[in-house]
Symmetry: C2
Subunit: 136 residues, 2 copies
């Protein structure tokens, strides 16, 4: 898509919603929506009991920023309960995952950069050792 079709302003009606198993993803910046080269931005609404299990982005750095609710956030073998306004920084290729640790919907921003990569964007390691038993 040419950059002429890309939006500078993402108002409520411009958001692109993608349904994923762990909750709707509301895209605010990605190629085709904005002229994104360096920055992806998606707001995730994760219902109680849901999770995006252990995975890694080989070529993208990520920040998870909690807007509302409570996240059990893992980065490598460490975890914290993050409250609204708190965040986690995940270097490229570091395994991480997010669980909704609370009783309300967890709303968080996932910020990734750069906006594109050569290989796969995401590798699921949730069934691999040691991650499959990390939370036991």
């Amino acid at each position: 898509m040419s950059s002429d079709n890309c939006k500078r302003f993402i108002e409520a009606g411009d958001i692109e919603v993608e349904e994923l198993p762990w909750g709707p993803h509301e895209w605010l910046s990605r190629p085709g929506l904005t002229a994104a080269e360096q920055l992806l931005l998606v707001r995730v609404r994760m219902p109680p009991g849901q999770a995006h299990g252990f995975h890694r982005h080989p070529q993208m750095e990520e920040i998870i920023y909690v807007e509302s609710g409570e996240a059990e956030q893992w980065v490598d073998r460490e975890s914290r309960i993050l409250a609204p306004g708190e965040s986690a920084h995940i270097p490229a290729d570091v395994v991480h995952g997010t669980w909704n640790a609370g009783e309300q919907t967890l709303v968080f921003l996932a910020i990734l950069g750069p906006a594109t990569c050569d290989g796969p964007m995401l590798i699921d390691v949730s069934q691999d050792d040691p991650w499959v038993s990390m939370r036991d």
Copy 2:
């Protein structure tokens, strides 16, 4: 600073506050605080009547994401009033500025990438034509 000193989790007590003329900046990701290479993240609390006037980042793409309050956001020669949950995407080197258009504190996230650059991070153009009279 070695990456050994860099934080993976930024809880409330880890945030680095920087006082700037248009309101306090609460840093959540920058080199030295996190292992940031691709992503800067700062939360700005802009009082009513304040603004960060027209400027550009020669080498960094930016997203402005409104958390609360109301932003008069300019990107190049266009502006919108952005409500909470709305955003603007600003390609590298494109002039932009943010005014608090409401009567309450405007809280927004500024996301920039990549996290470092060779030259100056920011060029103020607020006193240059045509920006000096753009809002008249």
